[in-house]
């Protein structure tokens, strides 16, 4: 089916993006906190494919920058001093997945040259490296918050749908309550009641917890609906007659019925949650310095000069568009597939 192919392709693309994100240390030439106070707000490095004599070389090279005399803040290339871009270089140490200590990088240049693929920010930090490290925060906080929301929603929804009665009534009233509160406001309010200045790691975990918990209501209701009708199936009844316990029935027979909804909800929620993290970090309520997040990197654009003059600082925002587009197409494809399947029944 055409939808299946779309879904597979999109999932591979997104999987690739997340994989690159996990290996941010490898793909980025510099550490995210490495500052170079001499070169703030540098535009992206020019990559040359010709050497000093003008002939074409397959290996790209970057030239050293010197300050323009009399015009501090402006830089020119010293074409006589060019350094080749080498691949698989050893550079700054980093931890892969927090476990392994490595120092291999995909590409780099020998000092004193620097390669800034997307320029530098106000502290002279490489935006490209920060983009990659920042993706870990933004992409994975969205992902993990979604897992949390779906877990809580599935648990409560299943229990409510299965047992019915007062449990169901209580859970439904709770979902109505949560759905009655404007989501972003609730998020902000919750954040407000927690300490403002916390370490980036704690902020990361806190964000996941807050975003995830606030959003359990909608998936919870959907799961409850599936379970309500699903438990009427005779094979569930039969399993009960064989002596299956409630937990067994829920795990073996009802949970598989929810997989479709869970996946579709995931595709819908992940981009929303990524955006929530970006928004909160942008406003200073999320992950803070020096840890990069696409949100707090975008915060620099609130300064007029940055907004108008330094176009590469828009990178963290622009990068969001293809990510959201992929998730959006994935969600549509999943919904279309589900609709097609119910039509066949």
């Amino acid at each position: 089916m055409k939808q299946n192919r779309k879904i597979v392709v999109l999932m591979i693309c997104l999987g690739g993006v997340h994989l690159v994100s996990l290996f941010a240390g490898f793909f980025s030439p510099y550490d995210f906190a490495q500052q170079d106070r001499d070169f703030p707000y540098l535009s992206p490095s020019q990559i040359h494919f010709r050497d000093a004599q003008g002939s074409v070389r397959w290996r790209p090279s970057v030239c050293l920058l010197v300050e323009r005399p009399g015009d501090s803040g402006a830089y020119d290339e010293d074409k006589k001093k060019c350094f080749p871009v080498r691949f698989f270089v050893r550079g700054a140490e980093y931890r892969l997945l927090g476990l392994f200590q490595l120092d291999w990088h995909l590409f780099g240049v020998s000092p004193p040259a620097k390669i800034f693929l997307v320029g530098t920010d106000g502290y002279g930090r490489d935006v490209f490296s920060r983009l990659l490290y920042g993706s870990q925060v933004s992409l994975f906080s969205g992902l993990m918050a979604t897992v949390l929301s779906l877990a809580v929603g599935a648990l409560l929804g299943m229990v409510a749908g299965y047992y019915g009665g007062w449990i169901d009534a209580v859970v439904m009233r709770c979902t109505e309550l949560f759905l009655a509160l404007p989501w972003l406001y609730l998020l902000f309010a919750l954040r407000a009641f927690l300490p403002l200045h916390i370490s980036p790691i704690l902020a990361f975990l806190l964000l996941i917890a807050v975003i995830g918990v606030v959003g359990w209501a909608r998936p919870g209701r959907l799961i409850r609906g599936v379970v309500l009708s699903g438990k009427e199936n005779q094979y569930v009844l039969a399993a009960r007659l064989f002596g299956g316990s409630d937990v067994y029935l829920m795990r073996r027979h009802l949970l598989p019925q929810t997989y479709g909804i869970l996946l579709t909800q995931a595709a819908l929620l992940i981009p929303q949650y990524i955006l929530a993290e970006v928004t909160l970090s942008f406003l200073g309520l999320g992950v803070g310095e020096p840890a990069p997040s696409w949100g707090n990197m975008l915060a620099a654009l609130q300064q007029y000069s940055v907004l108008v003059s330094y176009w590469w600082m828009w990178a963290p925002g622009v990068v969001l568009i293809p990510v959201f587009l992929s998730y959006g197409l994935l969600a549509s494809a999943m919904q279309a597939r589900a609709a097609g399947m119910t039509r066949e029944e």
Partner: protein
């Protein structure tokens, strides 16, 4: 040893009422079952016939333990099923299995035939993996399904084959009593015949007893030793097929028989059987 002279299943004075209506509305009572008495002997087949809403499904639910009757008793092999001790009840209920009408939801679409048949064994933790596999193949042979099909899904089978699968599953726990709730309804006539023969065959081989529930008198007339007619929660007549057909006493039974003969003569008029 269980004496063959004692009835396998005895239902005495079973009553069940449902109340309809929310807590702030006036409530009405529905008498689903009223003073129902039934006896099923070992190796026999009892048919319970009635129109929809007559209470036959409620009775089936009470028998397997999904519903609690308000009063009365159900005795299986002499032991009361309404005994509050859960473990004993569970063990007893294993001896009674239920087969439903072949519908889309009767078998899990996500499980293979082998998984469906071994599910009861898995739940009860009765045998190891190897023995489970052997029992599955044995069951499939008994119901006439090719063992090569053990990885097939229900939707890849026909209605009759699915019903055989359901029977195989029901036999997994080696029950003594099979409750068949409209198990032949909805199948083609020829398939009905095949399944009926299978059931009779299994009955002789394993000494099974059947309680067959249906709305169709003709279906059960061939296989039942006794027919009980149920109407509005009451057993209005109980007799063997010959007696029932020749001298029906209750108007309900007469109506049911009339519809059978009507369809029979309609078929004969069209020159078929």
């Amino acid at each position: 040893m269980f004496p063959a002279s004692q009835p396998l299943l005895e239902v005495q004075g079973l009553c069940k009422t449902y109340t309809q209506g929310r807590w702030w509305q006036r409530q009405f009572q529905v008498n689903a079952l009223e003073n129902v008495n039934l006896i099923l002997k070992v190796g026999g087949t009892l048919a319970l016939v009635g129109e929809s809403g007559s209470g036959k499904t409620t009775l089936a639910m009470c028998l397997v333990g999904l519903e609690e009757p308000d009063s009365g008793d159900i005795r299986f092999q002499g032991m009361s099923l309404l005994d509050p001790r859960r473990k004993e009840r569970a063990a007893v209920h294993a001896e009674m299995q239920l087969i439903f009408q072949a519908s889309a939801g009767a078998l899990s679409p996500r499980m293979s035939a082998a998984e469906i048949i071994e599910e009861p064994l898995r739940i009860r933790g009765l045998c190891g993996r190897k023995e489970r596999g052997e029992r599955v193949l044995e069951a499939m042979e008994q119901v006439g399904l090719p063992t090569s099909w053990k990885n097939r899904r229900p939707h890849q089978m026909s209605g009759g084959q699915r019903q055989r699968l359901a029977i195989a599953r029901a036999l997994a726990l080696r029950p003594k009593l099979l409750l068949l709730d409209e198990a032949l309804t909805g199948l083609d006539l020829s398939i009905q015949g095949q399944i009926t023969n299978l059931l009779l065959d299994l009955q002789t081989r394993h000494g099974l007893s059947y309680l067959y529930i249906s709305h169709n008198l003709e279906l059960v007339a061939h296989i039942a030793d006794e027919i009980a007619v149920i109407h509005q929660g009451r057993i209005v007549e109980q007799a063997n097929p010959y007696e029932l057909f020749s001298h029906p006493r209750h108007p309900r039974s007469q109506a049911l028989i009339a519809s059978v003969t009507a369809s029979r003569s309609a078929l004969a008029a069209h020159g078929g059987t």
